[in-house]
């Protein structure tokens, strides 16, 4: 993990929840959707195919783990996952809980409007529930 440093914009836009095997798990500072981001702690990676095959498998495993926990905690209609990186090039995987009637449903969350910060108590409560679901 030498030389890995979380991208500044990701750091600004999200809070670190925990570290899993490969990834930082971060909660986006946007109350419009329960929105997590996984950041593989590897330097200079921008595409999934830049990772080693083992790291790719780890990333899949961790994405699935987080998606299931998010579904369980939120009861969302659909989990959306995506790795875009058109703006922030450091590889990061979005895992978002979507429900009918949420902002921009059934369209994507990316690029839609402006983030609405979450109240600190709500962020704490959501984080605690997610960590519980991840470590049953």
């Amino acid at each position: 993990m030498s030389d890995f440093r979380t991208d500044e914009r990701l750091e600004r836009d999200s809070d670190l929840l925990t570290k899993i095997g490969l990834c930082e798990l971060r909660l986006m500072k946007d109350s419009r959707w329960p929105w997590l981001v996984l950041v593989p702690q590897r330097p200079d990676i921008s595409e999934i195919f830049d990772l080693t095959p083992l790291d790719q498998t780890m990333l899949t495993f961790e994405t699935t783990l987080v998606a299931e926990a998010l579904k369980q905690v939120t009861g969302a209609t659909k989990i959306n996952t995506g790795a875009l990186g058109n703006i922030v090039r450091q590889l990061h995987v979005h895992v978002i809980a979507r429900s009918e009637g949420d902002p921009n449903w059934p369209g994507p969350v990316w690029g839609h409007g402006t983030a609405v910060p979450r109240a600190e108590a709500d962020a704490k409560a959501l984080s605690a529930k997610l960590l519980d679901a991840l470590n049953p």
Copy 2:
């Protein structure tokens, strides 16, 4: 693969390119971006975590394979991958070649405007290049 049937909307909006181990590989009928979709040939799956761990690993492997081929063929700035499924619930993974200045750059492709069909000769040429890159 018994009981698997490609979703009707996916079938209408894309052409079958080939079948890889787990997935159908389809080319979206939209010339605005080189846009592929992988559809795991398993019935009644809507989330990645509904797949068995082995199928999840296969899907990752096939997504990486296709993403690398698409990058090689198009020279795109960034590959975008995503599994949303808010409209079509059958699990499918988008793999899209994005370049600076393309429609809606750096925003996402989903929900942006209306598909622009590709001329048949262009579709054939792109398909041939992609199949070559996938089977070197």
